[in-house]
């Protein structure tokens, strides 16, 4: 009896092991044959990796519609908040997706060896000029811009009216006056989420780099050491704004404020302003659908004509060069462009990155205010895409947090940022 049991167990266990290996083999061989044939009635599977979990359901709806129009194509989406990490692990595991999110400039530069050249795609001619520099290397274009995003101070119009502020500040002095008026009316100005690396170390710190007359050239000068961050003429304005957000906000305790808390404080009318972008619209409305809000560009000088809004493409779709179905992936992007108004704009509520799509009122007050700046050409880029390593923001935020926490002086903070920058270039 014992013998029988052990015998059965041995067989069962080894069968299990073999089955495990066998399944993988058959799967990979199936996909490779499909790839080799490549004809349209063969079953084709495309793997898609993207961020923006907030539009996960809408993305899946779009994919379902595509699949019902193209019955031979299956698209397997994976939607994760941390595309950069996931992408590296997938490539390391040899399971790279066919289509995936890449960010512009430095990130695109790092990935370009692995990407398909999309310069000759039909939709490329419609992409807005502001979307091009981030994806162009040696004259070749590698990305499909998903949307345009911008940020500034999102403000509560009712609280501004209550404090007697009749026009949005366009200079540093006006910003200070607005803060004083709010203070006099007993309203806290800010609740800045300085616990998050991206509000402080990425978006706010972007300003002095983006306001430079030629951000790309300036980044290059910083890389080869011919320019130093402490000589940046906008650095003083940056620290003035940072000081204001702390002084008229939660003080040192801004360091403990998370994005959620910031959104909640703004949406419930506890504070008048937050430094956020168009992406904050839905989260704010979810807390309180009746907020009367707008957005204005953050000034760093006393010259109103200097004041511009940072605009960029947050993500591009790119195609993996080693994909077995490059043509199918291209077809998919073409389809997304053709139906862009329906999906990207109306469904995802993205501000369109293509000239042949129309921004609608549905996009809400933040996008509307942002588009005013775009129309008047008062725009600057997301210069942090030009910084020497894609994740360097998470380092930059530390000296800035230490400055907010009164651990470092302004000069020391700038010095630390310079060191991090130079360290990243050396590698």
């Amino acid at each position: 009896m014992k013998k029988l049991i052990s015998g059965v167990t041995v067989i069962a266990l080894s069968a299990g092991l073999l089955a495990g290996c066998g399944k993988e083999n058959s799967e990979s061989s199936a996909s490779s044959t499909a790839g080799n044939q490549g004809s349209s009635d063969k079953k084709i599977t495309l793997k898609l990796l993207q961020g923006k979990p907030e539009i996960a359901d809408k993305t899946k709806q779009m994919l379902a519609d595509y699949q019902s129009e193209h019955p031979n194509v299956t698209i397997e989406p994976e939607i994760t908040p941390d595309v950069q990490t996931r992408l590296k692990t997938l490539f390391a595991a040899g399971e790279a997706p066919d289509i995936f999110f890449v960010k512009g400039y430095t990130d695109m530069g790092l990935w370009r060896d692995r990407l398909v050249d999309l310069t000759d795609e039909a939709w490329m001619s419609q992409a807005l000029p502001t979307t091009l520099p981030g994806m162009t290397f040696d004259g070749k274009k590698y990305g499909f811009p998903i949307s345009i995003e911008g940020y500034g101070f999102v403000y509560n119009k009712d609280l501004f009216a209550k404090a007697g502020i009749d026009k949005v500040p366009t200079t540093l002095t006006e910003l200070k006056q607005a803060n004083e008026k709010l203070k006099a009316a007993g309203i806290t100005s800010y609740s800045e989420a300085y616990k998050e690396w991206w509000t402080l170390g990425q978006h706010l710190l972007n300003l002095p780099f983006a306001y430079a007359p030629d951000p790309a050239g300036y980044a290059k000068q910083l890389n080869d050491g011919t320019a130093k961050i402490k000589d940046n003429p906008f650095m003083n304005g940056f620290f003035d704004v940072l000081d204001m957000t702390v002084k008229y906000g939660s003080g040192v305790e801004s360091l403990g404020v998370s994005y959620d808390t910031e959104i909640a404080n703004f949406a419930t009318g506890k504070v008048a302003m937050i430094q956020q972008g168009v992406w904050a619209l839905q989260p704010i409305l979810k807390v309180n659908p009746d907020v009367n809000m707008g957005m204005f560009a953050i000034p760093l000088t006393d010259n109103a004509s200097d004041t511009k809004i940072p605009i960029s493409v947050p993500n591009y779709y790119a195609i993996n060069k080693e994909s077995k179905n490059v043509d199918e992936a291209k077809k998919f992007l073409d389809w997304v462009h053709k139906n862009g108004q329906k999906y990207l704009v109306d469904s995802f509520q993205f501000v369109p990155a293509f000239a042949d799509m129309q921004a609608t009122d549905q996009l809400g007050p933040l996008a509307a205010d942002m588009n005013e700046y775009v129309k008047n050409d008062q725009i600057i880029p997301f210069a942090f895409f030009l910084w020497p390593a894609p994740g360097i923001q998470t380092q930059f935020v530390k000296p800035l947090q230490a400055y907010v926490g009164e651990q470092l002086k302004k000069e020391q903070a700038i010095d630390d940022i310079q060191k991090i920058w130079s360290g990243a270039v050396k590698k």
Partner: protein, 292 residues
Amino acid sequence: MTQTKTKKLLIYFTFVSPAVLLFALIIMLPFARAIIFSFQDWDGISTDIKWVGWSNYTTIFHDSAYLKSFWFTLKYVAVSTLLVNLIGFALAIVLNMKLKTKNVLRTVYFMPHVIGTLIIGFIWQFIISQVFPQIAEWTGWHIFGVNWLSYPSYAFWALILVNVWYSAGYFMVIYIAALQGISTELLEAAQIDGVNRWQRMWHIVLPLVRNAITICLFLAITSGFKVFDLNLALTKGGPFGSTESLALHIYQDAFANNNYTLASTKAIIFFIVLGAITLIQVFAMKRKEVEM
């Protein structure tokens, strides 16, 4: 004779092989890969991987952020190991007494351990930033009036507090099991001999639960060193990197700073240090254990 021996061996391998296979695939292979990475230079993306010899190892000893996170992790391990074991043991003693509610209480204290640490991090982030100010308003205690996640020392104690709340119940369970293993005859005999409570605890109970102490210290030290998800969810290493644990620091280096190979080197050093500390701890404690 030999036939039964080979059969035994066969059965032995059959049962062990799945575990060995999984262990090799999930632990040994990546570990070997990390050792190789530690002698290379790669950003985690490009197709070009260079060999650099020992230079990664020399670089990390000048990396102040790495040394800082090492120091933070050591502090964290020392304090949390001590508190978690003390409180876990105290709970075990109390809940090993004849209490009516002991089963309910055991469940209650163990409950936090069932929730994922990420979730716990987010829940406590809410409690600290929203509920603590309320407590301060009611009680007037200054300590709850400040946002704990804004100051380095408070953030450290926030991590300790949450970890103790999370783990104490787990260690309690191990200690209860050990306490229940002590024969009542021994304790009664001691009582008849006129031993007071303190002497009974020090001379009888503690030596007899020493193997549980060995296990609990080991678990607390290793889990303390490897703290990652709680750290990520509660403080994100902030404010200004003052609460960045080693695991979080290595992760950041690999995936945010694109220093894949340097991070592998740091992980190898981390492994050696952690291995050495736990081996010394287990050997030292094993020698003092009492066999009944």
